[in-house]
């Protein structure tokens, strides 16, 4: 048990490589990642590097996941379109769901368009709910592998469990 039910659910679904950049909505998840073996967690410096490293891990035989704040999706777009979507690489993603009207200004412009952005690139997404971690982890892995593309679980501030 990692201290994060979200991470435990993903590990139980077969995830064995995590790359990402922390978000305060994913504190518990990233704290759990620190306990993973060094070959299973890549603390990236920017989100595009995290998703690119997940391609390397997938080529190497791993089931990888990328975790980040939704602002990082902007950095990722070039890699998601010219690696994952073009080469057919599955990628489960945990993305924080920042930007509601009560959130700080710097999160609102991209945050309020996160779902539209994902829809535009036909990337399936689901909103996380506390207590559903196991089902959500299986959905994330199955959706990304069935369609060989990214799939996103949007994690609000109550869903970092």
């Amino acid at each position: 048990m990692s201290g994060s039910r979200r991470l435990d659910g993903l590990l139980a679904a077969g995830v064995d490589f995590v790359a990402g950049v922390p978000c305060s909505y994913l504190k518990r998840f990233f704290a759990g990642c620190r306990e993973l073996p060094v070959s299973a967690f890549l603390p990236a410096v920017r989100e595009d590097h995290a998703v690119a490293a997940c391609v390397g891990a997938w080529l190497g035989g791993r089931r990888s996941i990328a975790a980040m704040q939704n602002s990082g999706l902007g950095y990722c777009l070039e890699v998601l379109t010219s690696l994952h979507l073009m080469y057919g690489v599955p990628l489960p993603m945990l993305v924080s769901d920042r930007g509601d009207p009560s959130d700080y200004e710097e999160h609102r412009i991209l945050g309020q368009r996160t779902r539209q952005l994902l829809d535009l690139f036909e990337i399936p997404w689901l909103e996380a709910r506390p207590g559903m971690e196991g089902d959500e982890a299986r959905w994330l892995v199955d959706a990304s592998e069935r369609e060989r593309k990214p799939a996103v679980l949007l994690v609000g501030r109550e869903a970092d469990v």
């Binding site: 490589f17 590097h49 490293a53 997938w58 035989g61 070039e78 080469y87 057919g88």
Partner: protein, 187 residues
């Protein structure tokens, strides 16, 4: 030495077991023409991510992983140097084919003419990082690079001129990815 000659020289020094990530554009096409191999991943886009893809492979595999990078490519994803230097995968070997310009888009000068990429790698934590100037015993430099303890970066000067452009690779991106993944799953 042209970039294509340097790519061919590096590939000739590798064993079939080594895993290669070839940078998008001319480097991937030259790698395919010089020595196509099932364990080479050919990038078509995502400029700047050569080191990051190689890092994901190096962390999850025991074999040597060789990144064939370009200077403009490395500069675009400069954070990749920090990742490799900070995490120090011992099996990652990074070769920068440095022509000082953006050759495929018309030869516009790159800041690699001012920025010392080997010094940047050393400062990021690569235990071995060297620069090899044009005509300065490239073969010996490559031998030393591959014999060093990793992660190791060789910034190799190559000519900007591209007298014999390599054609596009006759595989789909999905075929390229699946071939590598299947080849690695077999061992």
């Amino acid at each position: 030495m042209t970039r294509a000659e340097a790519v061919a020289m590096a590939l000739a020094l590798l064993s079939d077991n080594d895993i290669v990530v070839a940078a998008d554009g001319a480097i991937a096409r030259e790698a395919y023409r010089a020595r196509d191999r099932a364990r080479t991943f050919y990038m078509l886009g995502s400029m700047g991510q050569v080191a990051s893809i190689a890092l994901g492979l190096a962390m999850t595999r025991m074999e040597r992983v060789v990144a064939l990078d370009g200077d403009g490519n490395l500069l675009m994803g400069f954070g990749g140097l920090a990742l490799v230097g900070g995490l120090k995968p011992p099996n990652l070997y990074h070769l920068v084919l440095d022509n000082g310009c953006y050759a495929t888009t018309g030869g516009q000068p790159a800041l690699s003419q001012q920025v010392d990429l080997a010094a940047a790698a050393a400062g990021s934590g690569y235990p071995w990082a060297r620069r090899c100037f044009a005509g300065d015993h490239e073969r010996e430099a490559m031998d030393a690079w591959l014999a060093a303890s990793g992660p190791a970066l060789l910034d190799l000067a190559v000519e900007a001129a591209d007298p014999d452009p390599a054609p596009r690779i006759p595989m789909t991106p999905v075929q390229m990815a699946d071939r590598v993944r299947v080849a690695l799953a077999r061992s």
